[in-house]
Every structure is written in structure tokens, then in C-alpha cells.
Symmetry: D2
Subunit: 288 residues, 4 copies
């Protein structure tokens, strides 16, 4: 039996392949997480269990999709970076976004019981939405990640001070808001220290810097190459055979994934880990 | 602290709003479900537990997003139809697709233990990808749904016969394939009946017709209106106030959702349920 | 000699086909026409030679592209409507827009000497930019055209009064502006009549209504069909053979093109000319 | 009078801004130029008047749009490169394409009488279609231009030999085709030389290399900078004030435009003219 009479409807599907040779960032955000936080009584300003759960889900995504070279998460959002040479799903935006979001969500729900053993999930379940953005140059890509990490810093300093005022200082929410209106970073640092003896720099790095997921190879001595100068050529891998590409992909998929809380704005992070931009597997890390 | 130095990266995000006044279909498909079927030993040709799980997840999606007017599922795929007047997420494709896929996935993982109480999930978890397609007219939309239901019929008749040959007839897979090569529908019906005493029309409707999710209101007598003629004007709701629109949305979100296994190709299904195309809530169904 | 080393750059070209089964409007606008008007001393508020030139160029476009079913122009803009079934250039936006703009521009420059025999062109030459927009329903399409014609009316009434105040009333431009600030249509009509004995309704129809380009067939008695009801089905032509489609295309390309100045907001225009929405050639017009 | 009832139709216009920080190439092609060549009896294999006309029109485009940094033409096609920092028309594809095509067409029709003084234009007039493509890196952009120039070489060698066989050798078209089937470049060179005493390398450079339009500044000694290494950083202009950008734009718009016939595949062309990729005006050229 032919299906031809109705099959014309396939022609309405419009192509959405992303521009070749650009870095693809898929960012996902929790939907209605303010309500979620209240419903499940997440600790303020940061709930370590909730962040651990985000990180576990993100690690599963990077593990399932070796084309992802780095991921960065903060609060209820996570950004996944596909290397600019990536050709997964022929770079179709909807396939990339939906696959990342679906894998993240599946793992988030699955790991919930591990991170919140005493708090069963209830309806509506936690969900995420996502979008894809292309960045043509390494500079643009690093600026994107810097933008997210600066945002993490700004929000976390604010929230840490706000909740200190409320939880330790006994202020009402709206009074804490007023107390913070117009303050700059140094004011908040000062407020935390003088009123509550909190040194912001001693706060956990996970809260202050967010979380970075990447493959763990042996660090490279930044002195050994002209890192800043080499950035773009690093990202331009030598043309190689399909066999080699497939071999690299397999090596990447076997590499150990780590979640760390590092500064990714400064050059040092990138200089020591050239494989992130080059997408070429590094050396196995030395045993400790 | 200003975040301006890096914030320019937001300009790289490209708009993806779908054309107004068109029906939006978001279809999702299971990723690598052939492997899934083998891993979890799904019954062939149809696993009722797996279909029940798909339907439970789909019902949760339609319940969470009252802008969806109907959904249709078969095998490991599901199509969700947003009414052409829908303005959810300003009709942004990536938000619509990712929200549907995320909600579906969350519920699929959540309900797994209910449908497969003896088979715990293992990695990689089940995931789905999705895409959005716009259809300008009611005719195009119905042809899309007909296309999926015809596909369901073709595949299910083939699979039913194939697995009868293998499971009841003792054929090897490749011999069953050969036996079916070049056959038409009537040949398969005949094969099922003469060799295995199976009357295909007695197979469960869920397998033969797929599953339709919609809101349950009192059926309308198709004689009472010129249904075929009214189709397009039905879909053109009178302009109404925001209050009325919001009131309708709430009424829809409270309506009882049903999952049925009906013919959605013929007019009758649509004639009796004008609220699906009009997006205007119907009357509460009569108590039985 | 193979060209393969560089040929990969073709992959960067991104598809831009417009959604099937929607009306395509290509609108073009004169670039920097305020300067043009000053340079070539166009008559204010309307220069008949300049409008004749626009119309001649538009007629050439409709003649060269029989897929265009109607065009509407006012001032330095023109809108060309491709029937929703049109498949010219596989509906690629850039091809449609650039072809319309190029054909219009070529004819505008070519006919310049005819319309402005005493004013040779000088650099920079007159140019136009364009864009394509899709409309899913007949209602949307007619609303688009009504929008342009209402705009024509609003602007022309304003300009007619403004230039009467300046040219006949001796006001400075900025004083005329002030005199018109806050006035409604009836105020301007009154101003024209009481101060300058101008009855706006006696102004030329070309200025008040803009110009409509279409193929001229025998008018249809609106009583003979349920026009309002039939609008959408009219636009849904019966499926027909390629031969028939090609025959229709040739008949359209031979039909006489007219430029008229009619109300295209009310139903009457459309009721009498069903071929515009149906894209089916009408009967040859009766000889006068 | 408000225009609000119909104005909603503006919402159907979909944004088409091209990805920031990418090189934009607008390529236009003559429509139905095979017919044109026959109608106006263009000389085969190259008509110098027709190429001069293409070049005059291209020069006018580059002159009108100082955001174009280089243009390359061959036969009836021309490619215009907008610098990757260009923000003209907010990078909207339809505006960029239509403006280039319209300006080119206007000048082509205008200059026709100069280049073909004895051959008046007739209907249908010559027209062009166009499209925009983005290239993220300098390497991609140069590969695009190399692709076009290699194409020029391949086609011109073929055409030169083909028409020598026909015009000088007395062959029928189809016999010349057969004679060339399966030949490589060296075969054609040999054929030209041994049969017709034509040394292909002595053919005019305009025919063999196509035409390059760019601004003429003082050439730079390629020894003076690490050209290959600097390519990408060259293209990354220092952030500068709006005043400076505007000043640069004005200087560019005053620079002398030249049309030359050079090899743009090798590095030398680019090394000596760093302003093309940097978009920073060079020094005024030394007087000869």
C-alpha cells in the first residue's frame, strides 16, 4: 500500500542546519525553577544537592555525546559546546537541542532519588528548555563562556549577601533588597565580612565559579607553546582521514570526565588544556 | 558590577519564531529504540507496556501544555499539535520543541517503573529528539495526521505478519522478509488468516490505529453543522478578549484528557469533536 | 582539472525556501527616494510621471513573471503577490526577491527617458530594496493589501493638505506641520475644502487609491457565487495535471495586463475577479 | 485615522539577519544569459564589451557600498564581499542581496549604451538574481574566492579550445564537444598550440583570471609582516570609536577603485594588500 497521497506533507519540514565551521553552544535552562526551589525546599542561596544533580546530568550528556568538548553550568542552566568541526546530526539545530535537552532531563529525573533520597518527585516534573547559538571564532566562544561565569559571580555574590541579611541578619526579604540596592561588589564583600564575618573568597568554589565538565588529560605546560597566539590555529585541526577522526572520537568517548570549579575567563585554563579547543585527544593523565 | 564587556555575545542568538497563523506540529522520535527494544526485551511486534508508557508521557505533555489541541502517537514517535492561534513562547521553535521533548522525557523516565516494574532502567537512558513543522491549512494538518496513521497501518500489518511467520511459523528473520517481499495488504491479510487463523481486523485497535490524545467534551451531532464546509471557518475563532482567551485556556487545562484508538483520517472523528480545530472548549461530557 | 579542494565552500550556502501553501508577497521600496525627489524636482505631493514610471516597471515585472497574480503600488513602493501554489525557484526567498527587484530596477532605468524626457539620470542611480513575507490565509493576504491601501489613503490625505497649506496657503513647512498636528481625516477634508476649495474626493484616483496591476478577464457577476464563503475554496485550486498547469501559465502570460486605481479593501473587487485568488485564467474580456 | 486593524500583518515578516562576525558574500548571476548572448550576438568565447559592462556595474556597486571590501567577477556572475564587521542594514540578508542586485542592474542597464553603442536593449531586459552566504573564517572566504577563480580558469580553457575548434577548425559544435570529452588541462593546451598556434598563457588576463575590484592603496612589502600567520589577526580590527569607524568609512568611500585581473588564489595578492582583510584604509598610492 502506497502512502503517497499524504506524503507531500513532508515538504513542509524546513531545514535548520547551523552554519559550518562555527562553535555550537546549546544552553538549557530549568523551567519554572523558582517554583521548584520552593516546592522541594532547596537550600538558599545554593543547594549543593541540586547542583550535584545538575552536574550528574551534565556529565551524562557529555559522556553520551563525545562531540561536546566542554560544558559549563551554574544554577539551573547548563551550556554545552560542540566543536566547530562537529557534524553530528548534520548540525541540525532541532536535533542537537532536543537531544541535549532530552538526555539531560532523563538523567536529571533518573538521578533525583540519589541526590534527594528523602524527597520524592511530584508533578509537574522538572523540565528544561534549550536553544542553540553559533559562534564563529574562539574569541566569541570564550567571551560567551566568560559572560556566563561573570554572571555566576555577580548573582552568587548578590544572593550570598541577600540570604545572609535574611537568614543571619533577620531582615525581611524586601528590606534585604533595599539594603543591597545600588551596592557594588566591594560593598557586598564588606557587608558580608563586617556584619557576618563571612569572607566571600572562602565560599565554596562550586558556588562562586560554577561547574566545568571536560575530559581529563595530562595538563600541558603553557610555556611550551605560544598559547594566546596559537589559539585559532589550535582550533583548526589538520585535515585527517575518517578513520583517524573516528579513532579520535572513540578515544574521547573513553576519556575520564571531570567536573571542576575553575576560572575559565583567564587564559590559564585554556593554555593547559589545548585539547578542549583542538578537539584532539590529549595524553592520558599521569597517575597520582 | 557591569557585565557589558562580554554581553555582546547575546547578539549571536538568532530568532526562530514560527510563521503566525499556522498549525505547529512538534514530532518526537525515540533515539536508538531498536537497541532499546532488544535491551529491555520488548514484545514483538507490539509491546503493550511500552505503548502505555508512551501514552502516559504524551498525556502529561498535553496536560502541562493546554495550547496543544491533539496528539497522535505510534510506536516510538508522538506528534503534538499546537493550535494555529497559539502564541506560547512567542512561537519560538527551539523553546516549543525543547519543552515538549523535555516534558515527554521526564515523564517517560518517571513512569518507567510503573509500566516495567520488573525491569529497572540502565544507561544510556531512553531519550527522544524532536522537530517542529508548520502547516498553513486545516487540510495540510489533517493530511499530516493521516500520513502518520496510514504509516502506522502499513507498518503494523507488515510487522504483525512478519512476526507471525517468525514466532508462529518458525521462519528465520531473513526468510520471513523474503516471504513478504512484493506483497500487498490483501496478501498479508490472507497470509495471516490462512496460515495462522489471525483475522487482522481483530488485532487490538491500539496496534492498528495508534493512539490519539485529546480533551473529552460532549460529542456533537455531525448532522447539526455543515462539517466539511465549516472546517476552515471552524478553525478561525472569533476574535475575543484576553480575559475570554485566558478563561478558555483554564477550562481546557481542566478538561479530562483521554487516550483513544480511533480513525482520524475520515471526517467523522473531526465532525464530532469540533473543539479540536476550533480550540474553543466544548460542553462537559454527559455522565454515563 | 578537478575543483574539489575549494568546492566545500558550497556547503555554507543555507537553504531559504519559503513555507509551501502560503501567499508570498515581495515588497520593494525605493532607496533614498527623499533625495531622489529633491534631485529630480518631483512635483509635490504627487508626481504623475514618477508614478507612471513605477507602474510601467511593475507591469514589466508581472508580465515577466506570470506566477504573480496581483501587484499593488503606492509612492515609491510596490508589492507583488505570488499565488500560494507557486513553485517558482523552489520558493527560494533570495531568488524571488532578487529577481523581482532586478526586473523592476532594469525597467525603471530603461523607461526613465520615456517618463522624464527632459531630465537625464545621474549618479547614484535609482535603486530598490526588497523582502519576502508569507501569508497563510486569504484573509491575511487581503489584510496585507488593505494595510497598504489604508496607508496610501492616510499619507495622501496628509500630503495633499500639507502641500496645499505650503503651495497655496503660503505656509512654511514647519508651520504646515504644526497646523496638521493632531488633526483627523475629517479636519483635513474640511481644511482642504474651506481654505482651498479642494474636494479631496475629486483628487485623481491614482493618488488616493494607488495602483493595482492584474490580468484582465471578463468580470464575474458577484451574485453568481457565494463569494465571501467561497474565498478560501476559491484559492484552493483543484489538483490538475502538469500539462494543464503549464497551459494555464501560458494563458496567463498572454492575458492583457491592466493598471487600475480601485478599492481593493472591499469585497467587490475580489468578487468580480475570482481568477486573482484562484490563479485560474478567466474568460477573455468582452470587446467594448 | 488609525491603521491598526490591518497592521497586525507586519508580524508575519520574519527576521533574516546574518550571523555576526562572519564574512558575507553576495553573489549575483545573470538570468537566462545564454539567450542574451545569442540575442545580442556576444562574441565567443569572451565578449570584451560584455565583460567591461559587468565590471562597470560592479565598480558602481563597490563605490556605492563602501562596506564591500573586494569583488570578483567572471562571465555573467559577480561576488561582493562585505567585511565580517559590517553592520549595514543590520546584516539583513534580503536588504543586502536586493540592494546589491538592484544597484548592479541599474548600472548595467544605464551603461549598456556605452558598451554596446550600436545594439539597443530590447525586452526582456537583462536581469540578475542573487544570494548571500556567510563564511566564518578568512580561510573559508579565500577558499570561496579561489573556488570562483579556479572555475573561471577551467571554463575559460574549455571554452577557448571549444570555440577554436569550431571557429578556426571548422568543427560542428557537437563534434567539438566530442573532441574535448575526457581531456585534461594539458590536452587542451596542447590542442590549442599544435592545431591553432595559440599559446593559452598569452590569452588576455581578463579572460583567464576574471576581474577583481578593490580600493587602490600603496602596496605593502610582504616581507614586512608575517603575512600567513597574521591573516586572522589582521582581519580582527582593534576595537575603535564610532568616530574612527565613520572616518574610515569615508576614507574608503573616497579611495580610487581599480579593476584588475590578478591571481587571488596565491598569498601574494593578499600579502601586498592587507587593507582588504583588515578593512582599515591603507596609504594613498604613490604617484607613478
Amino acid at each position: 500500500m502506497a502512502n503517497s497521497k499524504f506524503e507531500y506533507v513532508r515538504l513542509f519540514e524546513q531545514p535548520d542546519a547551523l552554519l559550518p565551521n562555527t562553535w555550537i553552544v546549546v544552553r538549557l535552562d530549568g523551567r519554572a525553577f523558582t517554583k521548584m526551589c520552593a516546592k522541594y525546599k532547596f537550600t538558599k542561596p545554593n543547594d549543593r544537592r541540586a547542583l550535584d544533580l545538575m552536574n550528574a546530568a551534565a556529565k551524562a550528556v557529555v559522556s553520551d555525546l563525545p562531540e561536546i568538548t566542554i560544558a559549563y553550568g551554574v544554577s539551573d542552566e547548563y551550556s554545552f559546546v560542540f566543536h566547530k568541526t562537529c557534524n553530528l546530526f548534520e548540525r541540525r539545530a532541532s536535533k542537537l537541542v532536543s537531544t541535549v535537552v532530552s538526555t539531560f532531563t532523563a538523567n536529571y529525573v533518573y538521578y533525583w532519588a540519589t541526590c534527594f533520597p528523602d524527597t520524592p518527585l511530584s508533578f509537574p516534573l522538572p523540565t528544561f528548555d534549550g536553544r542553540a547559538v553559533c559562534y564563529p571564532s574562539v574569541e566569541n566562544l570564550r567571551d560567551y563562556l566568560s559572560w556566563r561565569q561573570v554572571d555566576c559571580h555577580i548573582n552568587n555574590l548578590y544572593n550570598t549577601t541577600f540570604w545572609a541579611l535574611v537568614q543571619l541578619g533577620g531582615l525581611e526579604n524586601k528590606d534585604a533588597e533595599k539594603a543591597l540596592a545600588g551596592t557594588v561588589a566591594s560593598d557586598k564583600n564588606e557587608m558580608l565580612f563586617s556584619r557576618f564575618q563571612i569572607n566571600y573568597n572562602n565560599e565554596p568554589e562550586m558556588f562562586r565559579k560554577g561547574s566545568v565538565v571536560f575530559r581529563d588529560y595530562e595538563l600541558v605546560d603553557p610555556e611550551s607553546h605560544q598559547v594566546a597566539e596559537d589559539m585559532d590555529s589550535l582550533a583548526e585541526p589538520a585535515r585527517q582521514s575518517k578513520t583517524q577522526t573516528e579513532k579520535d572520537r572513540r578515544r574521547r568517548s573513553k576519556a575520564r570526565l571531570v567536573v571542576e570549579h575553575l576560572d575559565i575567563i583567564k587564559d590559564d585554563f585554556w593554555d593547559r588544556r589545548p585539547w578542549i579547543l583542538s578537539n584532539k585527544p590529549g595524553l592520558a593523565p599521569k597517575e597520582p
